[in-house]
Amino acid sequence: MWAAAGLVLAVLLPFAASQGDSYESFMDVSTMVGIYVCMALGLNIVVGMAGLLDLGFVAFFAIGAYTYAIFATPQANNFLHFMDFPLSGNTFWLFILIGGLVASLFGVLLGIPVLRVKGDYLAIVTLGFGEIIRIVFNNMDKPINITNGALGLSSITPPTLFGIQLLNASQFYYVVLVVALLVLFIIRKLEASKVGRSWRAVRENEIAAQAMGINLFKTKLTAFAVGALFSGMMGVIFASKQTFIDPTSFTMLESITILVMVVLGGMGSVPGVILGAAVVTILNLQVLTEVSNWLTDLSVNGGIAIPDVLSPSKMQRFIFGLLLILFALYKPKGLIQEKNRIVDPKKFTEAGENAHASN
């Protein structure tokens, strides 16, 4: 099944889209779907698997994006004098990792004070952190101009692969596809590992988990750091794809959008979250704009006056808010429910017997 999906994504989808004239814009949406899928998978670790509500996830995305953007534009010349910036597009591949690690570091720094405290303070602290990061990036143009403030950073160097500059959405699509597969692979491994099982244990019952010898603080902190890592990585890709970033791309609405993806798809369920991310991204970038355009056409040509106020592209908050409430109330497990892996008890008894025999 995975091979079939891979074939569709790598060959069929780009090929099917290549016939029309809106090829690039179609691939652009597909690329964004990929970016959001990875982010949602990252948030799924924090919210879905470890049960920690993070409402400022976009902060880590912003940190990753700015990490690359500052060094891939002449901006870094303002405070670093030992080499000449912008760095070449070859460094992009390294920066995917660096951006992720920087974001992860911030995740740990934020997690240390908050995760020690019992209670739901995490939600409000992350909410605040998301907002603070935006304010800080918005104002770090003085005394030393680091982020260029509200003007944002433009002409970010696009990545280079074997001497070819990647400029089009169709090229980015493959970059994102490879990264997404990598992320998926890592998450699948993590899910089944000891730490993945501890996350779930902590989510289900902290006291019982502690009694089984799980260190609550460490387990939560790992979830937080891994989530931030993926978010930061995608930030780097986002910055290089857009070639322009400013603080307005990283608002609370973005954080909530990613949360909607996770809740809609099914908290903790990897296939669910992929579905959720794809649905919400396409809804956000394609459907809402098209319906809005259609409504505008209708009120221009058809004489049915639909006030601009109700234009669906402005109603994201309404739609997302409603989705969150409805899913919380009626379908808290999401579209595709998380599956518990069935453990074959024979495997364990045999292994146990073998171990005994060898003794």
Binding site: K118, N139, F318
Partner: protein, 329 residues
């Protein structure tokens, strides 16, 4: 440098206390709901914002009826506050009934998600209602009610101080907010309903066994918290003029910080926390660039509430007036 700071201190205190009383009354709503349900009511900031809009709309209606100028302003504002409090109180009860009550036994995470959903929904409902009514503008400017400024000639009393001034609405905001807090304190500590609220907060099941109607008590808590939030919204609109649908979010965040600082669940603590945050924020706004030699400016003032929140969680998670809770297994 210090002289400068001292010189402007009285003005900072006036502004800080005004802002602080607003935070304090909103913090009461957070603290009451948290005390009784152990749930962060994310929608509370939005209730405050909705209150600001409803109140301003009522005042604008009064203004178009020509009542402003003919009737005493204080009475008009009090009427607007009273009506608004009724509406937002009802909204609060409705939110609890629809979005929180069915989830009372569900994991905390699900209830929080529902709360954040409500918060977003309210923001957008207010936005497009305002845009409908106000020619496509999502912000609202209230009628100017208190035009005069009061000057306090401090420089005559002490030469190291400079004059301070405040809008007359400052006095009104202060007196009303303090009155609201005293009424609430008496209500919670002295009445039968207040006793029921404290009992439910302490142990819901035992309270039910003692004959307390738990659902009614929780509804009442939401009504009072939301009515206070809405009334404060009106005060905020009167004091600061322009309002938009997104004011509730960051203000709610600060008010929540105030509640945590004072000790969540503790009503007097919330008031103390609100005042501290208000004064610290205004102090930062006035003096940050002097203190840091223009490296950091007043635009970082919003960061302070957040830093306080982190520090409290690190060093005194039970808050200034709260008691450390022991985990029940």
């Amino acid at each position: 440098m210090l002289e400068n700071i001292l010189r402007t201190l009285p003005q900072v205190l006036f502004d800080g206390i005004t802002l602080g009383t607003v935070y304090a009354v909103i913090a009461l709503g957070y603290t009451m709901v948290y005390g009784i349900l152990k749930l962060i009511n994310f929608a509370h900031g939005e209730i405050f914002m909705t209150g600001a809009f409803i109140g301003t709309a009522i005042l604008l209606a009064f203004s178009s009826l020509g009542w402003i100028g003919t009737l005493p302003i204080i009475i008009l504002v009090l009427v607007a506050m009273f009506l608004t409090a009724g509406v937002t109180g009802a909204i609060g009860v409705g939110i609890e009934r629809i979005a929180y009550r069915p989830l009372r036994k569900a994991p905390k995470l699900i209830a929080l998600i529902s709360a954040i959903g409500i918060s977003f929904l309210l923001q957008d409902l207010v936005r497009f209602t305002t845009e409908f009514a106000n020619d496509g503008n999502f912000y609202l400017i209230g009628p100017e009610l208190f035009k005069s400024n009061i000057n306090v000639p401090l420089s005559k009393m002490a030469s190291f101080l400079s004059d301070a001034s405040f809008k007359t609405s400052f006095l009104f905001v202060l007196v009303t907010a303090v009155a609201l807090m005293i009424i609430l304190d008496v209500f919670v500590n002295k009445t039968k309903w207040g006793m029921a609220m404290r009992a439910v907060a302490q142990d819901r099941d035992t309270a039910a066994l003692m004959g307390v109607n738990v659902n009614k008590t929780i509804s009442l808590t939401f009504f009072i918290g939301s009515a206070l939030g809405g009334a404060t919204g009106v005060l905020f609109a009167v004091q600061y003029g322009t309002i938009d649908p997104y004011i509730g979010f960051i203000l709610g965040l600060k008010a929540f910080t105030a509640a945590v600082l004072g000790g969540i669940g503790n009503i007097r603590g919330a008031v103390l926390g609100g005042l501290i945050i208000g004064v610290v924020e205004m102090f930062a706004a006035a003096n940050l660039s002097t203190l840091t030699n223009h490296v950091i400016g007043a635009e970082y003032k919003d960061v302070f509430a957040f830093i306080i929140l982190i520090l409290v969680l690190l060093f005194k998670p039970e808050g200034l007036l709260g008691k450390a809770l022991h985990e029940k297994v």
